[in-house]
Every structure is written in C-alpha cells, then in structure tokens.
C-alpha cells in the first residue's frame, strides 16, 4: 500500500561503453524531466494522501510520510481504524488493526524490503551509487503500446527493479520490482501516471500495482501532496509501549 517513485542520478556509469552513453543520457533526461537535481534534493520530507483502491472494490483512505534519507510510513484507513507500515532506515514494523489488534509488531527483514526500497524520496535510482545499486540499460520494450526505455536496477540487497521510461518525456511509466522474500521471488508491476509537480518536482499521482502470481491489484490515487512538512523521527520508529495512538483515531 505504499507508493514508489524514482529519480535517476547524474553519475556516469562505465566510461566508454556504448550503452553507458545511452544510460547517462537517459538518466540525465529523466532527472531534467522530473525537475532537476537541485529541486529534488531540496525535498527533505514528503507527505502524500488520497485513496487506495484494492481489487477494484475496497477503498481506503491513504497517507504516506517520507523523510530523507530513507524513512517511510504508509497508512491506510477504514472505519476509523488505521493500519500502519513503517521503516525508519533500520527496521520495519506495522499495526494491523482491522481485526482488533492495535499494538505494533515488528516486520521481518524480507517482508519490509518492498517498503524500505521505496523510502527514498528521490526514488530507487537517486544516489544509486552511494546506495550500492547497479544500473544497466536494456534497450527498449513495449509497455502497452509505448516503446519504453528499459533500465535494470540491481539493489544492494540483490533485488531487481526494471524501470521503464516514457520515450518522449523520460519519466517512469512502469516499474517491475522483484523482491526475494524467504527465497521466493515476489514480483510487483506498478504503472505510473497523472504526474504533477510538488515543490517543482514531478511525482506520479496515480500508481496502479499488480502482484504477479496472485493477481492482487491496488491503485493509489494521490489527492494532496506537500513537501517539507515537519516530521518527527518518532513517526517512523517502532513505537515505545503505550505510545500506539496511531492505530485508533
């Protein structure tokens, strides 16, 4: 129930390789299209909210908090109960209140991967080198009738994300994320649209995600977004006992 966006750093790859030139070019164009490195780096926190539609049927209220360098908290609300998943850069936790439990519980390292990977405001590729990722250009591939540029991002933890850039505007239109969860590959395909600017940077306001295998579908529609809202670190940290107010409002 969290969203993902991606920006691409300007750092060059292997000098001299033909695909590196293409990759550098794409990365630069993507960054420019999003609004430029300076504006992107100036965003230290980001709050988004809107709706989360699950399986074309269930609609929940949605809110997400992100804080640099890599904290994230995603909330989904139903009938006054709010589920929480959060990552503070070290560990992940959740509150799943819909069946009566409102105390926070730790998430396993594997289960929190997909959330943690989405924590950076700039996206998985921004500062990719510092994060230990690898980048590769795989040519173009059809995305629902759009011949998109395909980039392979191998994250430090071994997970892989295939990022597809629109050929005209160089913005992300699809990311296929493969997470290794307890030895099993979990694949999620996210389609991005409705780009709008927040503090001068384009973010997708529509994110449709499908889980391969089980066919689970969800769609996030962002209605409000605000950059640099003050956020306490406690928002992301595992709550101390008796400090679990986030669950019930």
């Amino acid at each position: 129930m969290h969203i993902r966006w991606t920006a691409v750093g300007l750092l060059a790859l292997l000098a001299g390789s033909a695909s590196a030139a293409t990759l550098d070019e794409l990365v630069a164009k993507n960054l420019e299209a999003r609004g430029g490195a300076a504006k992107l780096e100036a965003i230290k926190t980001l709050k988004t909210s809107g709706k989360l539609l699950i399986g074309d049927q269930f609609e929940l209220g949605f809110a997400q908090y992100q804080k640099a360098p890599e904290s994230i908290r995603a909330e989904a609300s139903l009938q006054g109960l709010t589920s929480v998943q959060a990552w503070d850069g070290r560990e992940g936790w959740q509150i799943s209140p819909f069946q009566g439990r409102k105390d926070p519980e730790k998430m396993s390292a594997d289960d929190v991967k997909s959330l943690a990977d989405e924590a950076p405001i700039g996206g998985a590729l921004f500062d990719w080198k510092a994060r230990g990722s690898k980048l590769e250009y795989l040519g173009t591939e059809d995305v629902d009738g759009t011949e998109a540029h395909k980039l392979k991002v191998t994250l430090k933890n071994g997970d892989v994300e295939y990022v597809y850039l629109d050929p005209d505007h160089y913005l992300e239109i699809r990311i296929v994320a493969q997470h290794n969860v307890r030895g099993t590959q979990v694949v999620r395909v996210s389609d991005y649209g409705d780009y709008e600017q927040v503090a001068g940077v384009y973010f997708p306001f529509s994110i449709a995600t499908e889980s391969k295998g089980d066919g689970g579908k969800q769609q996030v529609t962002i209605e409000h977004a605000e950059a640099n809202v003050p956020m306490e670190d406690a928002l992301f940290a595992f709550p101390a006992p008796a400090a679990t107010k986030g669950a019930a409002k």
């Binding site: 420019e32 299209a33 609004g35 909210s49 809107g50 709706k51 539609l53 399986g55 074309d56 049927q57 269930f58 609609e59 929940l60 209220g61 949605f62 609300s77 139903l78 009938q79 006054g80 109960l81 819909f98 069946q99 009566g100 439990r101 409102k102 795989l138 591939e141 059809d142 629902d144 009738g145 759009t146 392979k152 892989v160 629109d166 005209d168 505007h169 913005l171 239109i173 493969q178 030895g183 099993t184 590959q185 389609d191 649209g193 409705d194 780009y195 709008e196 600017q197 384009y202 306001f205 529509s206 449709a208 391969k212 295998g213 066919g215 769609q219 529609t221 019930a248 409002k249």
Partner: protein
C-alpha cells in the same frame, strides 16, 4: 454505453493541465494516429487454460538448488518456456515476449545456471509441429533474453554447453522439416553465440542433426546423430523414401571438439547395425564415458551399447517401446551416477536397470508419449518427465508420478461456444481428447471446471444445437461421435465407405454446423456429407471435391524406414466447410490440396473456383473458408503453405461468389502479419472488422483488411491461434491457441466502435456491451499454489475509452453520475495508449460506520447502485468527455426491478441507521474526550475532577451498548448494535432481490434499539451533561460541547468481496 460520446471543450481541469504543461518538459509534436498492437491490445483477454489436460512438453532442463528447491525450465512444444524456482509448485512463462513459442531444447550452463540457452522449434516432428527461428540466451535465469541467430534453423534438437567454458556451446539443428535447407547440422560457437560454425553437416539438404551426446569430463569427445527426414502434406520419411532407400542418416564421433569426425559404421565398428538408418538417438553415460548408448532406426531398429567409447557395439533391447515411432521418440537419458540405468521416453516411458538389456514400462499414471526426462543428480530417484499431457514428477525412481496441474500449455485445434450463461467452450486438442469448460465460474476457472468428453486427438467439437444434452466430437480421421453430456454415452456416427471405396478423412477432419437449420451438421472426407438427424443418416452432397491426386494417396508407404500411417498424412481431403448464414444451401469448401469449391444449391452443383485465385501457387493447402456474415456472395479464404516450406500468410476475399478475389494479405505485402494463417473470420456485427489467426498469434483489422494489428491483450504471447468462435449474445470471442489453451476476449464492442475518427482523436469513449449486474456468487475451493486457475471477467461495469497516446501529466479523472447529475463514484483511470478498460464496481458509498474494536467487514462496501442510465465523465487536461452507461440486471435472475429497488432501498435504510449511529458515537466520543481533557487540567484534589471522570464513564456505558469494544484481536463474540447492524447489512446486500420478511423486521428492530440509545444519550445530554456543564460554567471552565454530526470520513471505504470463493459470513 451509448454510441455517442461527446467532448466538451474547455470545461474543468484547466488548472491541472496548465500545471502539467507549463513547465520545462518539452512535449513532442502530437503523435500520428496509428493502428497497431498498442491500440487493440487494451481490449484484454483472459486465459482460462486449462492445465487439466495441459499439453505437449518437448524439452526440460533443471538444476538442484542449494536451498533444496529445484529450478526447473520446461519447454512447451508450442507454448514457450516455463520456469519454476520452487521445484514445480509454481511456474511462470519466461519466454512470452519472444516472437516464437515452439521450444526444441533448453540447456543450463553447468558453470553458471543463470545462463540459460533455448533452441526454438520442436524436434519431435509430428504433422502439427510448430516452427522456431533460432537460438536465444538469457544471462539472468530467464528474465531477459538475447537472440543469438540461426534464423533459418527452424528447429533445434539439443544444446550442449562445455562445462569448462560456458561460451563454448554446441547446437544440434535438424533444420527444416518441410523443405530443403543448408542451414542444418551441428553448429558450434566459442564466443557465447556471437558466431556459429557448422562443424558437421549432412550429405544432402534434408539431413540435419537430431541427437548429440558428450563426455562431460572431456567434452571434446562428442557423438552426433545426423538425420535425413522430410515431411510433406501427404507423407513423411525418417531416413530415405523407403526402408532400404539411401539415407543421409549416420552416427559420427569427434575427439577434437568437432574439428574432425569419424563415422561410426558397421564395417569399422563391430556390432553396429547396417545402413540405411532413420533417426538415431545417442547418449554418453555421464558417470562412465566408455558407456555409449545409441538407438538406431533401421530395418532392424534396436538399442546398441558400447563399453569402449564407441569402438565396438553390442545390440541390446529392441522391444516395441524401444523402436516405436522413432521420429517422435528418439531420446535416451542415462542416470548421472549409474551407467546401467537409462530411460527411453516413448508412447510408454521405459527404463532399464541392466544397461539396456531389458526395459520395463514405468510410465505409471502418466499421460504417455514422453519426450524428455530429467534425473536429479543429487537424488536419482527424483525423475521429471515431459509428455504429450504435460509434466510429471516421480520421487520413487520413476514408478509413480505426480501430475503438474499448473501448466496451461494445452494445444487446442478448434473451439466453439454455446448459449449457456456463462457460456461454455468446447474444443479438441493434440493427443488430449475433446473437452468442455466454463468460460467463467465463481472463484475462477480452475482445472476442475473442465470435463473430458471423448478420446484420442481432439479437433472440432460442438454442442448439438437441436438437443443441448448432446455434443459432437471427433478424433483423428473423422471419427465423429455424438456424446451424451450427462452420461458420457458415445455413439459413433461417422459416414462409412461404399462398395470398394476408400473415404479420405483428414487428420483434422472438418465438421460444421449449419447456421440456417438447427441441428444440421456437415462433415467432409473427399465428399461433403450432411445430416439433419443427428448422424443417423447422412446425405452425400458432393462429388469428390479434391484433386484426387493418386501421388498424394500413398500413406501406406509413408514413414521412411519405419512405416507410420496414423492418418496424420491423409491427403486430398476436404479441410474446411462454411455455409452462408445469409443463404441456406450456399456452401464454401476448401481442400488440403488447393481447391476452393462452392455450391449455391445445397450440393446439387459445385463450382471449382480455384483458378480465379491469382497469386497463390497451385495445390496450396486451403486452411480456412469463411462465408461472409452479411452478403451471400462474400467469402474469405486462407491458404497455409507451411507444408511446402512457405511460412507466409495468404488471405483472400471475394464479393462475387468467387469469380474474382482480392489478396488481403500475401507474401509480397504481409502488412505486418507473421506466420501461416489458420483461420480468417469476419466480425458478425461489423463487416470491416476481420480476425486472422496465424502460427504466431491473432491479427485484427478494422478496415476490411487494409491494415492489421497484432493482438497482445492479456499478455498473450506469439502462440498459434488456430480457431476463433464468437459468442454473439455476449459480444465475446474465444480463441483456440495451440500451445496456451483457450483465451477469451470478453467484449468486442469497443473494437467495433473504433474507427478512423476515433483513432484520430486524442481521446474518445468507445461503446461497450450493455452492463449487467452479475449475481454475487461464491464457489470453488482452495487448490493450493500448484494449480492453475483462469480469471473471470471483471465483476463490475466496463468503461472503455481510447487514447491516442499514453496519459502522463495531470489528472485523468473518471466520474460516474446518476440521473440527477450527482457524482456517485470517482474511479481511478487507466492511462495506456489505445483502448483502455476500466472497471467500475457500481457500488454506492458504503455506510459510515462508527469506530470500534474491529472493522465491520460487510459494511466496507456500499450497496450496488440500482439499474438505470448513468453518465460517465472523463476529464483529461482541459477536455471533458461524457458518455452514457446503461446498467441492467443479470439476465439470469428471477426477480424484477421492483424487488431490486426494494433491496436497494432497504440497504440505504440500514446505511442511514449506520450514519445515525456514527453521529451518536461521535457525540459520545466527543463528550468522553472533553471530559477527560477537562479532568486532566484539574488538580488531583479538585472537586470537579471526579464527577467529570464519572461523567465520562457514564457516557461510555452508552457507547458500549452500541459498539464492540473488546480489543486484542481474538474472536470476542462481542456483538452490539453496530455488529448486529453489520450482519443485517451483509444479509441484505449479498442478495439483490427482495429482502426476507425477517430481514425487514430486523431493520425495524434495530432502528428501535438505536432509537433507545439515542434517547438515552439525549437524556444524558439534558441531565448529567447539563449538570456537568453547569459546574464547569460555575468554575469558569469551558463547557463540554456536543457536535451536531460526525464529519464525513476523509475517504469513505467503498468495498467488495475480498475473496470471491469464500463464504462472506464465515470469517474464522
């Protein structure tokens, strides 16, 4: 949706659009309208399988994982490559984006199993075999692929990778089945596939490589079996033209990695059989390179074994299953640890434990017709086999077998549909009988929703329209039967030969229903037969419509070294029949030897129209004739010339009863279409919409055949589409694929609405079929993760629109308005190029439910809106588009609109009660919070503090009558007014007819109980609270205020069923 969608310029959304485009992102010039795969594929398609019968597996490769899980690659004969990284519990297709789907060989690099090599084009050269286009390699375990050439190889039998160097690879290429070619033999690359050298070639243009084996410890020693073979439409030979005719087949050995070769002969190698040969299979025992096995097809076919690395040979087993159909079964798999244990896949799977002296049938419960085996080197009792019925695993050394129920690689030849609701599909498959399946079922179309009705290889199959309790099905050679769908009683009704006559029935004998007379049925040998009494009697209504060329009628001599006359080569037969729906007795017939024939008088007289067809060579196989759906003089004809080695598409149309023909598609102008054509159909509603199924997929034209676009909806791969069936009531299309089962396109209406004007527009609504509110239904059961289940059509209403380009900037907003113009829902839009389908759940807002210990699950969804006409409004940038959406009831329901309205009104009544309840709880909570807050500000000894806390407790006792408050996540069984209301709401909304009397009475009861607590609170408000406020006032403290109502939730839940197959009332 209405036929007219309108665009309102400059309304709304202007700010967004300005924000989107007012920045430095340079928008390119407006794209030209294109008609291509991106436009049509958004129609979508669902694959309903089935994996019950599955389909032919031609190649296997696997590697045991360090984590104990086997990574397995399965090559389907014509359905791509499937990967499992959990030993077969789950599979995913990994080759779907490649242009061919027939798999001949898979090999994993021993030094890095992430390097996967795939040779395309099956080597088991049966009559229905598909084609490949060379070799592919993945460096990341099958996620992405590079094409490595050998484009003219057509098929690849085996790939071997040097364990010392993953860039040194051998590819054993049999080459073209249907024509001469120099591009065949044993190829070798030393640079990872960048370049290939032909290191061993045959002595003629029909001899290629069919088998290789090497010593993994010394891979420079390698044996290769060359094979001389050729198939024609009317014959096949493995080896020479007859058992003792010269043949290019032979066994060769190299000791220097292919630089030089020595032929293994009876003269030089004691014990080896005499020439001529047919197909040879060779294998070197991995654990002892001196042990070499060779199955040699000859006039005395047998297994041979060498114990000295191929110098001398000893004749071993020659049982029936060793030598049965060597062209189809020529593979030997030796245990990686035990040189005396080997498998020979065949009609039955046979295994030897004594070095090939004796074999036993160990196929057990498998389907049969095995082609490849993998033996787990870490546990040689674990054996995996691929056969004509899919994939099987044995854990006891190959005696008892588990079936994989998760490979929907079924090879349908044909498909038909019926009038059931949901409609059923019917069709026959390669070696897998004739089946009927549901196109939809609550919980999904699982394997259990398919039923086998006959036997043999299946082809055409229909429900008898005159008596739906009966079906027509056939097996090879026109063996038509009429089958009782309930009892499975079979009655053979095939027409039989007259005095000293031979009827020639094609392998895939055409059966056709009359569109004009219910129950009338046609079947063709060289003659056309018609029955209108369920096959009790047949009228022969034509002379021999074929060329009756005796040179093409020598099937008893077919097979080459080993005779093989299975009806697969039967020729000079009728292959396609189509009666005009516009004129009874006007029948088009196509034959496999090139004739297009027409009768306009029910068969009294026939015209051979073949000469009028210009540009197609004589005697080309007529794969399809299709009478026009609108005019009696119109017809479409497809030719399939792949049996002559010509893989190009040919489609012709006539409007004058076949006097003149126009080539819609041909080799000189294929219009982007790839592959030989199996089927051409005209849309039953819009004449200019045409559908063509080829060996590489489905192509669609919306302008009468001038332009074509490949359909890739539902991520359908480039699999052969061999038949198409329209379900006109549902505007649906069923696709018979030969390799990936049945696919359903649920609504063709938007395609019919797509015209040049729509294509040129930036965006436009497209009409969809009338919306039904389908019954909320529950069915199916958990089958585990190792079972295929096909998806159902979306449960809601389809909203369909076209976009010239992908939507990227600013909101693309979809709203639904009721007849009063009020917005009832806002739906996330789809942003792709071309046709977009968005599903609207048709639900009104859900109740406002007061917070409690748990979610009230039934109330997470709103009631479905009443039937009627709704308006859909799309806002895209500054432009606003509108269309009408007619919502009706499920045609299967027994109740009428009045009952439906009663149900909706009752649901709204309960929803209102929930709203009142929410307001009440909100007021209570406000009082609780304020009392708490005021008390907190007071000192511990303040006289007011205690009464305030008591006040809080008192009001909370009212709350506890309304909502369950026990937290902790257990099954508390705590039910208060809210929980009772949720149960009632669920009962009322699950069934959309009239609520029961008890349900209606229960609404009254709960309304009364709610009224009681409301009164109690009112009393509290005027009593205790007023007193407390007086005290607060006196103490100059802020009074406790009671809000008027609860605010709307920021985002109210709108919900539906989480798990369709689960009973919604059982949550334990």
């Amino acid at each position: 949706m209405s036929t007219h969608s309108m665009k309102k310029g400059m309304v709304g959304g202007g700010l967004l659009a300005a924000a989107a485009f007012g920045v430095a992102v340079a928008a390119p010039a407006a794209p030209e309208a294109r008609f291509d795969a991106g436009v049509v594929s958004g129609l979508g398609a669902r694959n309903i399988g089935s994996a019950a019968m599955s389909g032919r597996v031609s190649a296997l490769a696997a590697v045991p994982g360090k984590d104990g899980k086997t990574t397995l690659f399965v090559g389907a004969a014509s359905g791509g490559v499937w990967k499992s990284d959990d030993g077969g519990t789950t599979f995913k297709p990994v080759f779907d984006k490649q242009p061919v789907q027939s798999i001949g060989a898979i090999a994993l690099d021993p030094s890095n199993p992430q390097n996967v090599w795939v040779g395309t084009g099956e080597p088991w050269t049966r009559n229905s075999v598909s084609i490949g286009n060379g070799i592919y390699k993945s460096g990341d375990g099958g996620e992405t692929w590079s094409y490595l050439g050998l484009p003219e190889s057509e098929r690849v039998a085996k790939i071997l990778i040097d364990p010392r160097d993953g860039n040194t690879v051998y590819a054993c290429v049999p080459g073209k089945l249907w024509s001469d070619s120099a591009e065949r033999g044993l190829y070798k690359t030393r640079d990872g596939g960048k370049s290939w050298n032909l290191v061993l070639k045959g002595k003629n243009l029909s001899t290629g490589c069919a088998s290789i084996g090497f010593d993994p410890k010394n891979p420079d020693v390698l044996f290769a079996g060359l094979w001389d073979f050729r198939r024609k439409g009317w014959s096949f030979r493995s080896g020479g033209e007859s058992p003792d005719a010269p043949s290019g087949s032979g066994l060769f050995r190299t000791a220097d990695g292919g630089a030089s070769w020595t032929e293994v002969t009876d003269a030089a190698n004691k014990g080896f059989p005499s020439k001529p040969y047919g197909r040879i299979a060779v294998a070197v025992a991995p654990s002892d390179a001196n042990v070499v096995y060779a199955l040699v097809e000859s006039t005395d076919s047998a297994l041979y074994r060498s114990d000295d690395g191929g110098k001398t040979w000893d004749k071993r087993d020659k049982s029936q299953m060793m030598v049965w159909r060597p062209f189809y079964f020529a593979n030997l798999i030796v245990d990686p640890k035990n040189p005396d244990r080997l498998f020979k896949p065949d009609l039955g799977l046979i295994q030897s434990l004594d070095g090939g002296k004796s074999f036993a049938n160990v196929g057990g419960g498998t389907h049969g017709d095995h082609h490849d085996i993998w033996i787990d080197p870490t546990d040689t009792q674990h054996v995996i086999s691929g056969d004509d019925g899919g994939l099987w695993q044995s854990f006891d050394g190959g005696n008892k077998w588990w079936k994989q129920n998760n490979l929907p690689i079924s090879q349908f030849y044909h498909v038909s549909v019926d009038q059931a609701d949901p409609f059923r599909v019917y069709g026959g498959l390669q070696d897998n009988s004739s089946w009927v399946g549901d196109s939809a079922y609550p919980g999904g179309v699982t394997n259990s929703r398919w039923e086998n009705m006959y036997g043999g290889d299946g082809f055409w199959m229909f429900e008898d329209p005159a008596d739906p309790a009966y079906l027509y099905a056939e097996y090879q050679g026109g063996s038509i039967a009429r089958i009782n769908r309930h009892t499975h009683e079979i009655r053979f009704v095939q027409p039989m030969a007259e005095y000293k006559e031979k009827l020639r029935w094609n392998w895939n004998t055409p059966i056709a229903l009359s569109p004009n007379e219910k129950g009338a049925i046609y079947i063709g040998s060289q003659f056309l037969f018609r029955s209108n009494d369920h096959g009790q009697s047949w009228q022969r209504i034509s002379p021999d419509l074929t060329t009756n060329d005796p040179q093409k009628q020598k099937q008893e001599e077919s097979g080459g070294v080993t005779v093989d006359n299975s009806a697969a080569e039967m020729h000079t037969t009728i292959y396609s029949i189509s009666e005009s729906p516009k004129q009874a007795g006007l029948i088009w017939v196509g034959t496999d030897d090139g004739n297009v024939q027409l009768t306009r008088d029910g068969g009294k007289s026939w015209s051979n129209l073949t000469r009028n067809l210009k540009g197609v060579p004589e005697h080309s196989w007529v794969s399809w004739v299709q009478a026009g759906a609108f005019e009696p003089g119109t017809a479409f004809v497809a030719f399939d010339r792949h049996t002559f080695g010509d893989m190009a598409p040919y489609i012709y149309a006539t409007r004058d009863y076949g006097q003149s023909w126009t080539a819609l598609v041909g080799p000189k102008d294929a219009k982007g279409m790839r592959g030989y054509v199996h089927v051409i159909r005209q849309d039953p509603v819009k004449p200019d919409v045409l559908y063509a199924g080829t060996e590489f997929g489905l192509w669609i034209s919306i302008d009468g055949g001038r332009e074509w676009a490949q359909f890739k909806g539902g991520e359908m791969p480039a699999v052969a589409v061999r038949d198409l069936a329209f379900q006109n009531r549902d505007a649906s299309l069923a696709l018979a694929t030969h390799g990936r089962g049945i696919w359903i396109v649920d609504d063709l209406t938007p395609l019919r609405a797509l015209d040049a004007k729509a294509l040129a527009s930036e965006a436009a609504f497209l009409q969809a079929k009338p919306v039904q509110q389908r019954i909320n239904a529950f069915g199916g059961w958990s089958e585990g993760d190792a079972s295929f289940s096909g998806p159902n059509p979306p449960a809601g209403a389809d909203i369909v629109y076209y976009q010239k380009s992908r939507h990227l900037f600013g909101k693309l907003k979809l709203e639904v308005l009721d007849s009063k113009g009020e917005v009832v829902d806002t739906i996330p839009a789809s942003v792709r190029r071309g046709i977009n389908r968005v599903n609207w759940s048709m639900r009104a807002k859900p109740p406002r439910v007061p917070p409690a210990a748990q979610v009230a699950f039934n109330s997470t969804q709103g009631p479905r809106v009443p039937p009627g006409t709704y308006t859909v409004r799309m806002t895209k940038g500054k432009d606003v588009y509108e269309t009408k959406l007619d919502v009706g009831l499920d045609r299967r329901i027994a109740y009428g609109t009045a009952d439906r309205q009663a149900q909706y009104d009752t649901a709204l009544r309960v929803r209102d009660l929930f709203g009142r309840m929410s307001d009440l709880v909100h007021k209570i909570n406000a009082v609780r919070a304020q009392a708490d807050e005021r008390a907190g500000k007071l000192g511990g000894n303040d006289a007011l503090r205690k009464p305030l806390l008591a006040l809080k407790d008192k009001v909370d006792t009212i709350r506890k009558k309304i909502v369950a408050t026990k937290e902790g996540g257990a099954i508390t069984g705590e039910e208060r007014l809210r929980e009772h209301m949720d149960t009632l709401y669920g009962a009322i909304t699950i069934y959309e007819g009239k609520p029961t009397d008890y349900q209606l009475a229960r609404v009254d009861t709960l309304q009364r109980e709610l009224g009681d607590v409301e009164q109690e609170f009112a009393k509290f408000q005027s009593g205790d609270l007023a007193q407390a406020n007086a005290s607060l006032r006196a103490a100059k403290l802020e009074e406790i205020a009671v809000p008027a109502a609860a605010p709307e939730e920021a985002s109210a839940a709108r919900g539906g069923r989480e798990e369709e197959r689960r009973n919604p009332f059982e949550r334990d």
